[in-house]
């Protein structure tokens, strides 16, 4: 899950900071905060220059602090130790902290291997020389992955840095029984989606469930319309700011979206994705575009079995080739590159064996390696896996593909404004993008 998602997946009202800590910090002077990154940056020297010997141990930094993924990674390290005799010391850090402090973490004394995401967030640190390329690992595990996965694991210099563990697709989720009862059919084109939505609205239900109080869920709609309208490559170039925001292609995305706005839940700005999931479960709304983690909210097995999903319909380009499916996996730090055991650990993660070990504890995500055990998959999981396997290209979600500041500080409020009254200022988006990307 992407950072903001994870942050709020835990609960609608998860406070990031304790009030007292905050006031203390603010009391010191809000201005003082600015000094913190600098001071901490000063303390971070380069990693210790260990020799490249084949050691029998490695350290592993994990931001997967929630119970289920934590148990998943423990199963992986246990299986790895059992197989190779190499001991793994795992340092689990609460995931918000892990993500927020990644800059200082990588410059200080990072663990050999650590959990991270594919996409811009990986490429950025690769470009800064803070990661070790793992082409040697990919020589061994390359056959286990689809081309889309390989593409997603490659850094800006063409070398491979990332080893995928699992991912989860974004698509429209709906209740099979409800649709059968009302006679709705899965739309494969955008026009069909609009027709279906109009029909649902006439039936007195909210056609497309939508929640954007937290700001990030709207990225999913934007990404899909953009990719279906302008293609995967344009999405990548736009998020990397190789394409300008101030152009017709971008305005077209918003114009197309405008046709859907009347069908999306008008209360979106006050709702969290958990609220929306409930509304979908209660048959108050017809369908919901979200990541497959939405199923976590359906604790009733009968209800869960009634949930199905379909990919975002075709609009103008590339059919339904591109799928938004954020990938989580492992990276090697600069220091970890000198430890052969860490390379071996990443190679293990890239096998069906390693991913099965993870999935044994966390079955809600889709393993990425070919040959991973699918026998325990629910039909829905299997469908998710098939959609990902059939994808020609995999995007990572806007806040992983773009500069995080562009996503959080610019697009998030801009999309909230768009949802409110359908207005967007692409000129201003471009002005902000120019300034923010220049700072990197």
């Amino acid at each position: 899950m992407s950072s903001i998602e994870e942050r709020f997946a835990a609960g609608a009202n998860r406070p990031g900071l304790d009030r007292r800590t905050l006031l203390k910090t603010l009391g010191v002077g809000a201005v003082g905060l600015a000094g913190i990154p600098l001071l901490s940056a000063c303390t971070g020297g380069s990693g210790p220059g260990a020799s490249a010997t084949a050691s029998k141990s490695l350290s592993f930094g994990s931001g997967s602090s929630d119970e289920v993924p934590k148990a998943g990674y423990k199963a992986v390290t246990d299986a790895f130790t059992k197989k190779s005799g190499i001991t793994v010391t795992t340092n689990v850090v609460p995931h918000n902290d892990f993500q927020n402090k990644i800059n200082t973490y990588l410059q200080g004394s990072p663990d050999d291997a650590f959990t991270w995401f594919a996409g811009y967030r990986m490429q950025y640190y690769a470009g800064k020389g803070l990661l070790t390329p793992v082409d040697d690992v990919w020589d061994k595990i390359g056959a286990n992955f689809s081309d889309a996965m390989k593409k997603a694991s490659t850094g800006p210099d063409g070398k491979k840095y990332f080893v995928p563990n699992y991912n989860y697709p974004w698509g429209f989720f709906y209740r099979k029984s409800f649709w059968a009862e009302k006679g709705y059919e899965v739309p494969t084109t955008f026009d069909a989606l609009k027709t279906l939505s109009a029909k649902m609205k006439a039936d007195g239900i909210i056609p497309i469930e939508f929640a954007d109080k937290d700001g990030w869920p709207a990225f999913g709609t934007f990404d899909y319309i953009n990719m279906r309208l302008n293609g995967y490559q344009f999405h990548m170039d736009l998020t990397a700011h190789k394409e300008s925001w101030d152009q017709k292609k971008v305005s077209d995305v918003f114009d197309t979206w405008k046709a859907l706005l009347p069908y999306q839940n008008p209360g979106a700005l006050g709702m969290t994705w958990q609220d929306s999931a409930k509304s979908l479960g209660d048959k108050k709304s017809g369908m919901y575009l979200l990541g497959s983690f939405v199923t976590q909210q359906f604790t009733d097995p009968a209800l869960l079995a009634d949930i199905d999903f379909f990919p975002f319909p075709e609009i103008a380009m590339e059919g339904m080739d591109a799928v938004e499916a954020p990938i989580d996996g492992l990276l090697l730090s600069k220091k970890g590159g000198q430890n052969q055991a860490a390379h071996d650990f990443l190679a293990f993660m890239g096998t069906a064996e390693g991913q099965d070990a993870y999935a044994s504890k966390d079955p809600s995500n889709i393993a990425t390696a070919k040959g991973a055990d699918q026998s325990k998959f629910s039909p829905l999981n299997k469908k998710c896996a098939d959609v990902i396997a059939g994808a020609k290209s995999i995007s990572q979600f806007f806040d992983r593909d773009a500069l995080p500041a562009m996503a959080n500080n610019v697009m998030l409020p801009a999309l909230q404004g768009f949802i409110k009254d359908g207005s967007i200022d692409v000129k201003n988006l471009e002005a902000q993008a120019k300034s923010l990307y220049a700072a990197q």
């Binding site: 809000a30 201005v31 000094g35 913190i36 001071l39 109080k213 006050g270 959080n408 300034s435």
Partner: protein
């Protein structure tokens, strides 16, 4: 350091007797005293320097550069680009300024007088006064998480108390107190008042206890009614507290942050400068240059009223 210790002592010593005595007093400061005093003065100075002045100066410096926070060699001079970005290109900035002003006006006009009113009422020796005081003060002590939950219960769209009382819960007419950007600032202000009034109340209660009862007596002997007694006699007599309250109200409204943060992290109609500072400096959306520029802007805005009031307060005391 020696001069720092000498001067206050010399004033004390010089008051009653002549020079010889003053000298003897100074010798009374043993080596240990000097070390203790140096530590007592030195450590706070150091902490102040380390935690306030150095970061402040660094922030001001950082607001004129572009930096990704990684390598010191990545720092690039940017001139006033960060400021022009904030003023011209950053859409949440001006709404944030407006909201801060609104916050200040609301606290000054509604919340602070409400706190004063509570204090005056609870000062009347009514039965259970202590219990009421505690109840009104509780919000000040609650943690951010609890405040979030409490107001969520009030404001929720479909099953919140407020919409239930209005009879609109679960209907399409239900007001979306947090999601509707036209009303959520008011919802947040009510929550802020709930806290601020308790804070002001406690301070004024202390102030009212400090007012000499004979003043009130004298006023009533002169035929002043309760209203006149309060506004002509008691309120002016609480001048030191009033200054504290004014400064607190201004500071609270400038650093208002936690309530909007807990609602939706200061987006969609709840933008505040401090929330923007946090958004730009902490975590993933970190843009050090822009965040520092916002922090400096906030600092400058805060300095104006604080310097004004403090200089007025201390200036008048000197005259007296």
């Amino acid at each position: 350091m020696t001069t720092g210790i000498e001067s206050p002592i010399s004033v004390v010593g010089g008051q009653g007797a002549g020079r010889p005595r003053k000298r003897r007093r100074i010798r009374l400061l043993s080596r240990t005293d000097k070390i203790v005093l140096s530590i007592m003065v030195g450590i706070p100075t150091l902490i102040q320097l380390l935690l306030i002045w150095i970061p402040t100066v660094l922030s001001i410096g950082l607001s004129f550069v572009r930096w990704n926070g990684l390598d010191l060699t990545d720092i690039k001079a940017a001139g006033v680009a960060n400021y022009s970005y904030v003023f011209k290109d950053y859409p949440p900035f001006w709404p944030a300024v407006q909201h801060n002003v609104l916050w200040l006006v609301f606290l000054a006009v509604i919340a602070t007088p409400l706190g004063l009113l509570l204090a005056v009422l609870l000062d009347q020796n009514i039965r259970g006064s202590k219990i009421y005081q505690s109840i009104f003060f509780i919000p000040v002590m609650l943690s951010l998480a609890l405040i979030g939950i409490i107001w969520q219960l009030f404001y929720q769209k479909d099953n919140g108390l407020l919409n239930f009382l209005l009879g609109t819960a679960g209907t399409p007419q239900a007001v979306d107190w947090f999601g509707d950007s036209d009303v959520n600032i008011w919802a947040a202000l009510i929550a802020a008042t709930w806290r601020h009034a308790g804070y002001v109340m406690i301070l004024y209660l202390a102030g009212l206890k400090g007012v000499d009862a004979s003043l009130k007596e004298a006023a009533s002997l002169d035929g002043a009614n309760a209203y006149q007694t309060f506004f002509r006699i008691v309120f002016p007599a609480m001048r030191p507290i009033n200054i504290v309250i004014v400064v607190i109200t201004i500071i609270e409204s400038l650093r208002a942050f936690d309530i909007v943060y807990v609602i939706n992290r200061g987006t969609n109609g709840l933008e505040l400068i401090s929330a923007l500072v946090i958004q730009n400096l902490v975590g993933e959306g970190q843009v050090i240059g822009v965040g520092s520029a916002l922090a400096v802007i906030l600092l400058v805005i805060s300095l104006v009223p604080i310097v004004f009031y403090l200089s007025r307060a201390f200036g008048k005391e000197k005259v007296q």
